[in-house]
């Protein structure tokens, strides 16, 4: 047959070419000219996972870990694979019913689809973990996944070590560009916060390929773009955890604080504040619940009173007043004042505890007996120093001494939000008295550590270091060194600089130290004496507007070679010698002798059990408990009546299983509450034992 229509062959070829050109054009558009598909493919497939390194560990001075990491377990479920799981066993172990089980499953599927694992029970307890682990073979689709959690093995120093918390928007704004993301945890208080950068280490990022169901398929590009996580560095602190534990024990059932510092280095040996809390409460699954409880507690267990508690130092200030006067040459150690039981020179008499003549015949006697008249006089002499033109100038000079000794200024300890106490400015008094008309008499009680003077226990302990060292101190701090310290770690430099802030002569210090030695030998705190150790100390009984006097005690020992300087404050507890002194004495004995002598052990028990919590706070607890009981009673009624809002049944449906996986039933907590209230009553009935008379 003849070939005809040959030209149409060309047409067909043209059609082929045309279509191929159209395809090529679209391919050019998709592959070369638009970048959106590349981005979309990456969004689709690349899963960026932040790898959190282990946080650094904090050690005490004997290299015992006081803050470390532990592994807790989350029970994870992949709902798709969990069909054959033995739910009866699982429910029995977790103590939930099948309805609850189903609810959690549904939650998991809604949150994370049935192809991806989600948390079924967060941070299960050790015994549940053991049981689950045994029965894992019956629970396909369930896995126990590790989760690092902070652990405080000694359950001590909660307010010093601090806790981790989820970062909020404010935090993120402040720490822009430091790699934090929503949902991260960061140190919120204490050392966890101050040394966050060192402890957190360096986060790694891993990129994975995920599939259409969001399951991880493997590393992206064999991990070329991954960055390794670098573990946080450890911190070596100066804390002596035994001493810390003792301090916390002794401060039990009291409100107050104790700070012990090694004067030679400025390293803090112990910093106790009371009431405190078990830091492990803020790590596990119950964190949120416990935290709100602690925040609402009127005794404020989250407050570190050692740096945030501002107390009038009272008589504990007197050695410093003496030093100023000695250095200014206004008195010499043999200076005496005829005190007859009060200081009358300024109109309104300032009472003194002692009446017998000659109790203030010399600096040594006056200090050891804590004579108010003597130090009022000394203070006036300092303010009215003829070397200055006006009391204001004299006061400014005096304030300069105080600030140099670390009072009224922030010491810059390595804990966040330290308070600076108060040594008022002249401007303050100018306002109080309407101009510069005030004189030494108006501010007389400053001389005995009252008036507007406020100091934190840390400042008082630091002042003891200053006296113990005869004129210098190191800024108090917890962290002596950081693991693998480099030149970039400048944070610790300031703690290695000696602060020689005044030029007070050694003789003056010697005089004051001798007088302070007498306090425990023949003065106000004879009870604080430890056999074989010369303790230089000073008691304080500070009047305050909040009720009963605060009991204060400052000391350092041994006198010849000071190893520990200490300040103890017990709020509303009366005389300094009654409570603060024995606490400090026991702590010093523990630290210096490494143990407490057998004959004083009962003393430890007696003090730790003594309940000195002010009535107002106890009342608050009682009211809270009664409200709880009333609510409970209502709930029991409500169980019989038709269900209204805010009852047990309703609340059961709304609680978050992730936050409170161990929560079972309200009946449990009911028992606890009922058990608790008699305990409170017992505490209230406890009679306070009278302390030793203030010598």
């Amino acid at each position: 047959m003849p070939v005809y229509n040959q030209s149409r062959s060309r047409v067909i070829q043209l059609i082929f070419v045309a279509i191929f050109l159209i395809i090529t054009a679209q391919l050019l558009h998709l592959q070369i000219f638009s970048s959106e598909y590349k981005i979309q493919a990456e969004n689709n497939a690349i899963y960026r996972k932040v790898v959190y390194p282990d946080r650094g560990i904090v050690y005490d001075r004997k290299s015992r870990a006081i803050l470390e990491n532990t592994i807790m377990y989350d029970l994870m479920v992949t709902p798709k694979d969990a069909r054959g799981a033995d739910t009866t066993i699982l429910c029995a172990i977790l103590g939930i019913d099948t309805a609850e089980f189903r609810k959690r499953m549904v939650t998991a599927i809604i949150k994370n689809t049935s192809y991806k694992p989600s948390v079924f029970a967060a941070l299960v307890s050790d015994d549940i973990y053991a049981q689950l682990n045994e029965n894992m073979y019956r629970l396909p689709g369930f896995v126990l996944s590790e989760r690092p959690v902070r652990k405080y093995p000694f359950e001590a120093a909660a307010n010093v070590l601090g806790y981790l918390g989820e970062v909020d928007t404010t935090f993120l704004r402040k720490h822009k560009g430091e790699g934090y993301e929503m949902g991260d945890y960061a140190g919120m208080t204490g050392l966890e916060s101050s040394y966050e950068k060192v402890l957190m280490g360096q986060r790694g990022v891993k990129r994975y390929i995920r599939d259409n169901k969001n399951r991880i398929q493997g590393a992206y590009e064999n991990g070329v773009y991954d960055t390794a996580a670098i573990a946080g560095r450890n911190l070596y602190s100066s804390i002596d955890v035994d001493l810390q534990l003792l301090a916390e024990k002794l401060l039990g059932n009291k409100i107050g604080s104790a700070v012990a510092i090694d004067p030679k280095t400025g390293g803090i040996l112990a910093m106790a504040t009371s009431p405190s809390y078990n830091p492990n409460l803020l790590t596990g699954s119950e964190r949120r619940k416990n935290f709100s409880k602690l925040v609402l507690d009127t005794a404020r267990p989250l407050l570190n009173r050692a740096i945030k508690g501002q107390y009038p130092p009272g008589s504990t200030f007197k050695p410093l007043g003496a030093l100023v006067a000695l250095d200014e040459g206004l008195i010499n150690p043999s200076f005496g004042y005829p005190c007859g039981g009060a200081y009358y020179s300024c109109g309104r008499p300032v009472k003194c505890e002692h009446h017998d003549a000659g109790h203030a015949a010399s600096l040594r006697l006056a200090l050891s007996h804590s004579c108010n008249s003597y130090f009022s006089q000394v203070f006036r002499m300092a303010i009215d120093n003829p070397a200055f033109n006006s009391p204001q100038e004299g006061y400014l000079k005096w304030k300069e001494y105080m600030n140099a000794m670390g009072l009224g200024v922030r010491l810059d300890i390595d804990l966040p939000s330290e308070d600076k106490g108060n040594i008022p400015d002249t401007a303050r008094y100018n306002r109080d008295f309407g101009g510069t008309r005030w004189n030494s008499c108006n501010i007389l009680t400053l001389g005995i550590g009252q008036d507007r003077m406020l100091a934190t226990p840390l400042q008082l302990a630091n002042a003891m270091c200053f006296i113990a060292n005869k004129g210098y101190y190191y800024t108090p701090h917890f962290i002596d060194s950081v693991e693998h310290e480099t030149a970039a770690d400048t944070g610790l430099h300031k703690y290695r600089v000696k602060h020689k802030v005044t030029n007070i002569s050694d003789e003056d210090f010697e005089a004051v130290q001798l007088a302070m030695l007498d306090v425990t030998v023949s003065g106000t705190a004879v009870g604080a004496k430890i056999d074989g150790i010369n303790i230089c100390a000073k008691t304080g009984t500070a009047q305050n507007p909040h009720g009963k006097n605060h009991s204060l005690f400052v000391a350092f020992a041994p006198k010849e070679d000071p190893k520990i300087a200490i300040a103890v404050v017990v709020e509303n507890a009366g005389f300094g010698a009654t409570w603060a002194a024995p606490i400090a004495s026991l702590m010093m004995e523990k630290y210096l002798n490494d143990t407490i002598s057998a004959k004083r052990l009962p003393e430890v028990e007696r003090i730790s059990k003594a309940d000195l919590i002010p009535e107002a706070i106890k009342h608050w607890y009682a009211v809270k408990d009664s409200i709880k009981l009333a609510k409970l009673a209502k709930q029991i009624d409500a169980d019989k009546a038709p269900v209204f809002e805010n009852t047990t049944d309703n609340r059961k449906n709304t609680f978050d299983p992730e936050a409170e996986p161990d929560r079972k039933d309200n009946s449990d907590s009911t028992d606890k509450k009922i058990n608790k209230s008699p305990a409170i009553n017992q505490q209230q009935q406890q009679i306070k034992k009278p302390g030793k008379k203030n010598g």
Binding site: N5, T24, E36, Y37, N212, G218
Partner: protein, 448 residues
Amino acid sequence: MAKASHNPISKGVDWMIIWLYAILVAIGILCIFMVEYNPDTFSAASFFTFNTNYSKQLLFAGVCAIVAIFILLSDSKLYTAFANLFYVFGILLMLLTFVIGKDINGSRSWIPLGGGFNLQPAELCKIFASLALAKYLSQLDTDFTKTKSQAIAVAIAMSPALLSIMQNETGLALAYSSFFIVMYREGLPGFILVIGFSFGVLVVATLIMEPNTLAIILTIIAAGTVYFMRRQIKRERILLAIIIGVWGLCVGIQRFAVPYIFNNVFECYQSQRIYNAVGKDYDCSQNKSAKNAAAASKTVVKPDDYNVRQSKIAIGSGGLIGKGFLKGTQTRGKYVPEQHTDFIFTSLGEAFGFTGCLLFLGLYMVLLFRIIYVAERQRSTFSRVYAYCIASIIFFHIAVNVCMTIGLFPIIGIPLPLISYGGSSLLTFTVLIFILVRLDADRQMVLR
């Protein structure tokens, strides 16, 4: 002729086509391998375990090789002699599906063969239809300029398509329309192609444009035509009537026919796919079948363009040179559904990028042009028509499949020749191509 049986089978065989065939099949297996590859379970042995798609495809390829050898060994006269018989057999097979057919993915077009293998007669019918069409057009008494002959040819080509539509296999049915290219080559009036093309443009324009805007544009075109042809119209009044008639038809299609078909004939998902291809969204609430389903209180899932979107992402993210062999994230993550069959092109586009796609399509082009070249050198009409049939079928598959993956064409289930996973498809194209090679080898003989 007796001489042929003495010659080795390789005599006169067009090696270029065979090589291109082999290369494409190999690429196909590699593509399926890319889709299925999982570094955790992969071992070299898994190519021969036959429980993965790529090893199965390898098996199919082996079977195809044997079939190819048989075809090359056969006598080319066989195909001319039995063409009509084959065709009848094919039609019978298709009818058989209505009786013993197996329902796979909603289409009743499979005949179970046992052992997990199924046969799709509609695929095989492509071969038979090609042979039958070639046979008919090569008959001495066929005068293709006559409308009657054209109608018979169309009937031969379109009967399997009709059966396919009845089997709910629109995609396969569409493939039969490629026979129009052949018929055009053999003398079908050119205006039919023009009309078909114009109709396509009109439908797309209807989908893209506001109805009123399009009506105005059509009216302006009609008015313009009348103005420019006013002299001719004066001489022949009938022209005016034709122009007005065409204008009325176009507006009618645009105004009523297209919306009616989309709302009442197509299923919701089909309308949606077509709308997606032109970048529009279809409102399923107008769809009759969707309404019916809703009335029967079945949930109507509005289909989205997930397939095309992921397919475009896969290809688009390939860039100029691609992500590399086995490194495609879309492929590894199985984001593209049906990637081993209809969307196999995406794995290639992602792994080897624009360069790879161009080379790959170039390979196809070489094959197509080679087939056309081979067609034009045939002395017998039968062989020529048959060659064009193959070229058209392969071209149509490539064009529709690739356009579908890059979002230029609505999604219909049409495989990529020699690449997509599937035994039926591979076997069909093998037989198609090797019959041509056989016929071409005997091109010196005068066949009918």
